[in-house]
Subunit: 396 residues, 2 copies
């Protein structure tokens, strides 16, 4: 009836609900999620912080505020980059957003005209595909290898003069890979002479299992990189607080777009997080998360190694929340999912992490471990390995 | 350099910062705000509610959740409409948003293609102009009279086949007027046979000074009206929780747009508000706000009546947060503002509440009372009245 906007025709629907409908009886083991482990949320410390904020500054916390965000929180984030990466960022180069997802929406608003070419990782973060799609760009997918984006194919794609290149340089969703120093340097020198901005999504940067920090592309190309961060993976996603780091004139544009979008992110939540950070030891807390996720990853890795045929190599992640399994071409991921569903087991086929699932390359599946209980990791991982082995054997 | 999207060229900049730069020395009396009185925020009750939520349900409150919103909160809102307006709404017809402002952004996303005609009130809510402008519509302004939108001019504008008509039927921002039953009925019968959806913003509906509720256009044209509500004026704007009421198939579209925009609104804040509503008497709290605003309105009204020349009629609002003064054509609102700024007094000229301030009709100024201390209302109101009188006398 032509009543809705044309962008509604191209916005991808979340497939997860459809999948879960097919597995509606009995207990489901889900490797399909992407949630943090909620047993790690600092509920009690946040309670104490909320008491303090509402006892001492309730008028400020509950009132409207400026779009840019709570200044002490912007200062904490700036200091954090200096501490973890030796990177100098001014608080005025930081805009607080309603989670990292909103950062993507605001970047889309500020940059994308209908039809503008935009480079994405293939596979890459589904939420970015959804957010950018609302502005009707032409999404071009560049394959991601074990050490980062494919540089020769990136070079070719840059001929389209894309407005943006979106990527996750550390523990990327869905593959958990990290860009090597070599790839980061080559990418930076390729981009330096173009008009393309890099959107570097670092939502998982704190989740390295060994506690080290990868360098950022932002450090190589500061003026052309828009860096995204989030408290979702290290404190709580339910508070919906993330941020954008960009040079000041761009922050002003993004602030204008945010003002039109939701005025500002919850002031109470910003002050709550700030109070929590001040009164606790976030490094200690983040270390606990790292160790817990490393333990779960190792459990899943060992289980899969045991259950899978030796012909399938498993890349062991150094951080993040997922193992990405590259299946042999003979195994059809959709058929495997159907089979798993009959056993009340769910994962996400890799094709959903491409702008057009019909044009997906590779044959991966994303297996989440962060929010799966250890007994389910063992039981589900063994089952998944067995079902993949059966598919491999049937086809051979 | 053509790097940013074309929507950034048309998005209106907030003028308030510029105004305040001009009045940067000494104490400013500001009638320019639109904030609730923060002394009325239920800080202590929210503290108790937050303790309960974080003690009993912290894992749920701090985790990711569904885009639609927290089900018990949707149920409370549905019941509230039945209680206050006798209107039956299903919780599945409600989408929780990050404030009312986000509702406008999502509606823009779902409906507006570049160039689509859209009808706005003139004067009308500036935030709606900003939110919709991001989608590059053709905004058409329909004058607002003391009893609502101008029906003959609306009829004419409907010939453009607009996608949306945005309005505030009760205590509208900036004029505080209410639509009469007659205007609501005529509007509904005019719209019934068109393809135009009504966006009825009811952010101020609870703020009637006598505690009564105006009927909603939503009740006359339920399928074609998208109704917006908010906790910002009755609990706290800093929590950023509002909602959209629309028929279910449209809620599904809006939910898809919201998922791409920010995944969901803070689950913690939704549960916090729900807990507060359950454990307290919101009607009693809202009555306190009403009485307080009525007292301040009366103070400003009496002060202005005394200070203004009798030729200027003041419409006394029945609710809301503003008095809208219609100045004689001989007084230039911009020059008056310049003069006021020299006395450290600020208000908002009515022209800023039009899509194109250069094409504004009428000669009004918006004077806020909700967040102004009583002594400033008297001092500032007297000064404003004197300066207007001087302008009237100079020109006569």
């Amino acid at each position: 009836m032509g009543h809705y906007s044309s962008r509604m025709d191209t916005m991808p629907v979340s497939f997860l609900r459809e999948i879960l409908k097919a597995a509606n009886s009995g207990k489901i083991i889900s490797f399909a999620g992407g949630l943090p482990d909620e047993s790690l949320f600092p509920g009690n410390d946040l309670k104490n912080a909320s008491i303090k904020v509402l006892e001492e500054q309730s008028a400020k916390a509950l009132q409207y505020t400026v779009t840019e965000g709570y200044q002490p929180l912007r200062e904490w984030i700036a200091e954090r980059y200096y501490k973890t990466r030796g990177m100098t960022v001014s608080p005025s180069e930081i805009l607080i957003t309603s989670g990292s997802q909103q950062a993507l929406d605001l970047i889309g608003k500020v940059f994308i005209n209908k039809g503008d070419p935009l480079l994405m990782e293939g596979p890459g973060y589904l939420g970015a595909i959804q957010a950018f799609s609302a502005f009707e760009p032409t999404l071009i997918s560049i394959p991601v290898n074990q050490d980062g984006i494919d540089i020769p194919l990136l070079e070719k794609a840059l001929l389209h003069n894309p407005k943006l290149l979106y990527l996750g340089s550390s523990f990327q969703n869905p593959t958990s890979i990290c860009y090597s120093e070599n790839i980061k340097n080559r990418l930076a020198s390729q981009l330096a002479s173009t008009n393309t901005f890099i959107v570097e999504d670092d939502a998982y940067g704190e989740l390295s299992f060994d506690g080290t920090y990868k360098s950022l592309i932002k450090q190589l190309l500061p003026d052309k990189t828009i860096l995204l961060g989030s408290f979702s993976k290290i404190i709580s996603p339910g508070l919906r607080i993330g941020w954008i780091v960009a040079e000041e004139s761009l922050i002003r544009k993004l602030t204008l777009a945010k003002q039109a979008t939701d005025l500002h992110s919850s002031n109470f939540n910003q002050m709550l997080i700030c109070q929590y950070l001040k009164e606790n030891n976030p490094d200690k807390h983040i270390n606990t998360i790292r160790q817990h996720y490393q333990y779960k990853m190792q459990l899943l890795y060992d289980t899969l190694c045991k259950a899978l045929p030796p012909s399938i190599a498993i890349h062991k992640p150094e951080g993040g929340m997922f193992i990405y399994l590259n299946l042999p071409p003979s195994v059809n991921a959709d058929e495997l999912l159907d089979k798993c569903l009959k056993h009340n087991l769910v994962f996400v086929p890799g094709k959903y992490f491409f702008p057009d699932p019909g044009l997906a390359t590779g044959n991966g599946i994303r297996v989440n471990f962060s929010c799966v209980p250890p007994e389910d990791i063992i039981h589900g991982g063994t089952l998944l390995g067995r079902l993949i082995s059966e598919e491999v054997n049937t086809s051979s």
